[in-house]
Structures are given as structure tokens and as C-alpha cells.
Amino acid sequence: MRARDNPFAADRVLSIRYELGEGQAGRLLARLERLGYRAAIVGPHGAGKTTLLEDLEQPLARLGFRVVHLRLDAEHRRFPRGRLSQLAAGLGARDLVCLDGAEQLDWARWMMFRWRIRRAGGVLITSHRPGLLPTLIECTTSPELLDRIVSRLAPPTDGVRTPQELFKRHHGNVRDALRELYDVYAAR
């Protein structure tokens, strides 16, 4: 199958946004306010933390925050030299720093990060582990969630099922499960 036709192509997968229940977005924002706009989205790999963080950025901007998005991952575990000091110099009460992948920072760098952004009006992070900031929400996955996502991406006539086995094989990592399905379709 051509990559452009693959229903599990990255852009199609990314078009599936975080599944929030009715009114949950408002409750999350209210909880974030109660936490002083300093909180963490917590969960394992492939549970939707990045997607949820992105989805909350627009409502936060509508509240008047200027959202600054930072990202770290296994290949980029540090901020580019001078990035934080440059950022810190311009931060104020209307700035909200969103850091995706905070677990990449060791304790010393995490403390330095917090110090650098102390003038910001808020900080919202994603992390694999709780404890860096109060937990706003813990992202979880389920075979049923994976099945719903697959159903939205692949036409029912394709006969794709999401076996429990796929979910288990990827230890609940929905992103990796969808990448496996990409390979299945690519070989067709």
C-alpha cells in the first residue's frame, strides 16, 4: 500500500484528539486554576499526554495566557544552550509554559527549569511519573479506547479488529499499537 493511502499514517493518527468526556475539559481547566496553574499531566508512553497538552493550549490561550510550548524527548533531553535563559528573560504573569516530556530532566535540571520559569503565570508539564508537580490528570488507555481509535481510522470494510493481544503486546502504548497497524497495512 502507498504511504499516502495508509489509514494509520502519522498525520491521520495525529488528527485523533484526546478523548475527553462531556464537560471534562472545563473541569480540567477549573482544577488547573485551583492548582495555581502549576500541574502535571501524568501517564505512561503512548497514553495521550502530548495530545491532551496540545488540546489544552488553545483553551488556555482563550483565558488570556500566552502559551509557550517546549518539548523534550529521549533524543533531545536538554534544552538548546541559552534557550531557557532567553525564555526566562521575557516571562511574565500572562505566560504559561507547557513542557512536554519533563521526565527527561534529571532532578538538578528540573529544579533549574522551575527556577528559570518562576515568573511565568503557570506551567503545565507532561511526565511519565507523578511528583514533579501536582497531578492534573492521569492519562490511561484501554483496549476499548484503542478499538475506538482504530475504528475511526480504518474503514469497517477493512475487517481490522483490535485484539486484546495487540494492546497487551504494546503494554497499553496506543501510539506503538497504531504504528504496528501502519506496518500491517503497508505490507498489503
Binding site: R2, A3, R4, N6, A10, D11, Y182, A186, A187
Partner: protein, 123 residues
């Protein structure tokens, strides 16, 4: 109700590298602060999506109902391509602001005028 259209000259969809693509865009929108047409390619596949904007034609003083012509000189590459891991797709897009109203028309750029397809993707 926004209505944006792209018409390519002679209804062509396939081009060879170095050729020109020309056409006409029309739009009817509630408000028009800026309008432009872009020639670009993007990737679709397993990895992170990549985009390259090759040329842009901005239309000065756009009206809410308007039509303009455009012409792009096409580059030598990359060719329109598909493997199993990535596809490179060329397109022309009309964007009218505010509201980012958009219309996109895919084209093919390759020496044969057909998408270059390799590996399993060709079966």
C-alpha cells in the same frame, strides 16, 4: 458560507519538472484581509510529517468575492513519490484570511507525469 476554488489551465494535473503551472483562483468569503496561493509539497507516512513551501503568490487588496490568476515555475524535484513508508505529495493551496479558509488541489510532478511508486506500494 465560504467558497474557494482552484482551476488549473487546461485542467492539467500532471507536470514535468521545470514546467510551469498556471491557473485561476476564485473565492467568496465573508471577509478577506489577505489571500495567497502556495505551491508546496508535504509528506505522508509513518514518520513525522514534513512540509516545504516552494513559492507563494500574494494577491493584493483582496475582495470578499474575487478571482485572480497565478503562475508557478515548478522546480526540478522532489518528484511526486510513494513508497510504503513515505509519500511526497505536491499541491497548490489557496488561503484566505481571516479564518484560514483554504482549498487544496493536488498535482503530480515527475518526468513521466505519473507518480513514482516503488516497492510493495506499486503492487
Amino acid at each position: 458560507m465560504n467558497d474557494l476554488r482552484i482551476e488549473l489551465a487546461d485542467s492539467r494535473r500532471a507536470f514535468k519538472p521545470g514546467e510551469s503551472v498556471e491557473g485561476r483562483v476564485t473565492w467568496t468569503v465573508d471577509r478577506a484581509s489577505s489571500a495567497e496561493v502556495r505551491l508546496f509539497w508535504y509528506t505522508r507516512g509513518k514518520g513525522t510529517q514534513d512540509v516545504g513551501i516552494v513559492d507563494t503568490v500574494a494577491f493584493p487588496n483582496p475582495q470578499t468575492t474575487d478571482q485572480r490568476t497565478f503562475r508557478f515555475a515548478l522546480p526540478d524535484g522532489p518528484f511526486t513519490f510513494s513508497g510504503t513508508l513515505v509519500s511526497i505529495i505536491w499541491a497548490i493551496e489557496l488561503i484566505v484570511e481571516p479564518g484560514s479558509s483554504a482549498e487544496r488541489r493536488e498535482i503530480v510532478i515527475s518526468p513521466s507525469g505519473r507518480e513514482v511508486v516503488v516497492g510493495h506500494a506499486s503492487t
